[in-house]
């Protein structure tokens, strides 16, 4: 009897150990998929990555992929501008260093035309390579997923045709402000752009009394399309404006476009960071987190940094709000989504596809967000995961403030605002130059936008049928 009970105890122990072991085995989840993960064992992949929170969330997880597949992963990480340029040189020269790279719709439009990015549809539809049921593509939010699909129609065709990239994070553009200073200074949260100008101008004045000085508003300003893309394009599209007309001529110099641009430039001149034309998003995020700004009109996902006490002095002191509205009450936001795409030049396309499948699988994306702060996630199951909900509910002046904004962006306000065409980043660069000229007082806003429109028209002429 004693022997029997001892045997039962041992059996139970073995069972418990095996259960715990199974839970701790990081490969078990992936091995449920009807995919031969070892099909390309011994291959080496090179991944091109931008210096970004997503990259930091992916790197610690890479050993799991290597263990699962036997594929070695090397990677190159560069700051955003340098990354895109290095990538362009690699792709255009036929160098083919990168098998997989971080990308985004605005860039994919050029890559697709030039034949530098692989259509993922054939891999997705290949049962040898993909277990569609296990992967659950429907779990992705529609907006970032369709933004990475394009049929090549200039000024249209978004969400159709080729599938160029799988979205790994998404960002919208909202207001983040120092609620402690708002209360101290008796300010209100702006709901219109003229109101935003007044509030930030006051904040910039009041901030001079603080030690160290607190500036009005952080916003990126470098000579690049990305300066246009964030807070400015959000304001611009809120006023009902588009970058291009249907006939592919520039639409950036309409009366309404000039009106909102004047307000925006005024905000930057009265309350923006000193040396705004050389300010990157890295600078804006870090300096807001360091408590040097009252407000930032840039990426919503920066909240993950602001609310992390290890990286920020404004954790628990920050409020979040939708972008201000146009006079007609309209609110919009531009959208950016980082994705992973496959190079057409890759010599290891099968292995590259397995990497994409693994990196964007529900569990990988959940681990990236929960353990390593990849915000905002692009899968519904991750955003609605109880642990993620618990973490993000605390962000803002009241429970759920941040989450409400992201939900509203997905449901209503946020979307990609650029007109699909391969030269969109060139248009953005020219446009950013116009903002610089207006900010520096070299030209009046009207003149700067008119001149930029002429240059954009020259660029777009080749795309007219």
């Amino acid at each position: 009897m004693k022997k029997m009970s001892g045997f039962v105890v041992v059996l139970m122990l073995v069972f418990l150990v095996s259960v715990v072991g199974a839970q701790e085995d990081p490969l078990a989840y992936y091995q449920q998929a009807k995919v031969n993960w070892k099909a390309f064992e011994g291959t080496q992949l090179t991944i091109g990555l931008n210096k970004h929170p997503f990259t930091e969330s992916l790197r610690p997880l890479l050993p799991i992929f290597e263990q699962l597949t036997g594929i070695k992963v090397a990677y190159v990480i560069l700051p955003e501008e340098e990354f895109f340029e290095k990538l362009l040189i690699d792709l255009s020269s036929g160098g083919g260093i990168f098998d997989v790279y971080m990308t985004s719709p605005m860039f994919e439009w050029r890559y697709q035309y030039a034949g530098w990015i692989e259509d993922l549809n054939p891999y997705w539809n290949n049962p040898e390579l993909t277990d569609q049921a296990w992967y659950n593509r429907d779990d992705f939010y529609e907006k970032p997923l369709r933004a990475n699909m394009w049929d090549g129609t200039i000024a249209g065709g978004l969400g159709q045709g080729r599938w160029n990239g799988i979205p790994v994070m998404v960002e919208f553009f909202c207001q983040a402000y120092r609620n402690d200073l708002r209360e101290k200074w008796g300010l209100t949260v702006p709901t219109t752009y003229p109101d935003l100008l007044d509030t930030l101008a006051k904040a910039a004045e009041l901030g001079k009394q603080e030690k160290p000085q607190v500036y009005g508003v952080a916003n990126r300003g470098i000579k690049s399309w990305s300066t246009v893309h964030s807070g400015y394009f959000t304001a611009f599209s809120t006023y009902g404006q588009k970058d291009l007309n249907p006939d592919l001529t520039a639409a950036i110099n309409t009366p309404q476009a000039k009106e909102i641009t004047k307000i925006w430039v005024d905000i930057l001149q009265k309350a923006g960071p000193p040396g705004w034309p050389n300010y990157t998003w890295y600078d804006a995020k870090q300096n807001f987190a360091a408590g040097r700004f009252y407000e930032i009109t840039d990426c919503d996902f920066f909240a993950a940094t602001y609310e992390n006490p290890a990286q920020s002095v404004v954790a628990g002191k920050t409020g979040y709000a939708l972008p201000p509205a146009a006079p007609d009450g309209n609110i919009t936001s531009n959208m950016w989504t980082w994705s992973l795409g496959m190079s057409s030049l890759s010599k290891h396309k099968g292995a590259a596809w397995l990497f994409l499948l693994w990196a964007t699988a529900p569990q990988t994306m959940l681990d990236g967000t929960l353990k390593h702060d990849n915000f905002n996630p692009t899968r519904k199951s991750v955003w609605e995961n109880p642990a993620v909900v618990e973490k993000t509910m605390k962000w803002g002046t009241k429970p759920g403030e941040y989450r409400e904004i992201v939900d509203a962006m997905y449901a209503k306000y946020g979307d990609i605002r650029w007109t699909p065409n391969p030269d969109v980043t060139a248009i953005g660069d020219i446009w950013a130059e116009a903002l610089h000229e207006a900010y520096e007082g070299k030209k009046a806003v009207d003149q700067a936008l008119d001149d930029a429109a002429v240059k954009i028209n020259e660029f777009m002429a080749k795309w007219k049928k």
Binding site: I89, I222, K223, P274, P277, N278, H436
Partner: protein, 300 residues
Amino acid sequence: MASGMELRQSFWRKNIALLLFLPAFLLTVGILAPFGYSVVMSFTNFNLTTGTSNFIGISNYIKLVRDPEFWNSLKVTILFTIGAVLFEVGVGFIAAYLLNIGLLGQKLWRTLFLLPVMLPPTVAAIMWKLMMAPIQGVFNYLLQLVGLPGSEWLGSSSTALLSVILIDAYVFIPFAGMIFLAGVQNLPKEPYEAAAVDGVSNWFTFRKLTIPLLKPVIIIVLLFRIMDCLKHFDIIYAATKGGPASATMTLSVQAYYHSFRWTAMGYSFAHLVVLWAIVYALSYFLVGQWKKAVSEVHGY
């Protein structure tokens, strides 16, 4: 009947000159082939996105002449070159003099003086960009410590060009200084002894002896620095990307935008061909001046 050995020796005797010339020939072809290709491509609408590469005659050059951005970038290139060269040659000359008068710890000073030239220019640019950051940069902190207002440095069109000139000067003053130092150390002693006997002032000696004797060295420094500044890219792009409002947009940076940001390679090559012509013409002139100076000083 010649033996195999004799045949081999005969082959080497006949062809040794050609074989010795081969590396130089390959190097020349290696330089000239891409250059020739670039010139040819400047007459096409070569675009990486559209995949076109059709001959369009001198259209790119006509567009260039009509493009206000081209003229702005030419102006910026000239201003940058004048500013940087004057700064580097002036300070380099003074530094060479100071390093030659036997200061205490001269070896240490010479070592420290050389450090910046060992830095990759891009690294130097990023380092200075951080130091010049208006909010958290050390320069404004130090200025405010002594009660002076901070500057926007690279972030304002009124100070950006001067700021990139400063960065360039930091990296290349040692280069100029070391060449001047070598020149100063090789000056003949006799004319100076004669001048001392005649009791002339130091200023007179400097003007009438040192400068004329150093003329070939000065021209060599000018040649290297002018060529380098006209083609300058790395420091400016890393520091400002040609901004704000094109205040630091040199021809090289402009060409880079057209090629590696906008994929309009044909138009970019047109910029670079014009830049090459300017560099070549100036170099040709300076080499002529250098030959003249050498013959004046050394009599050959």
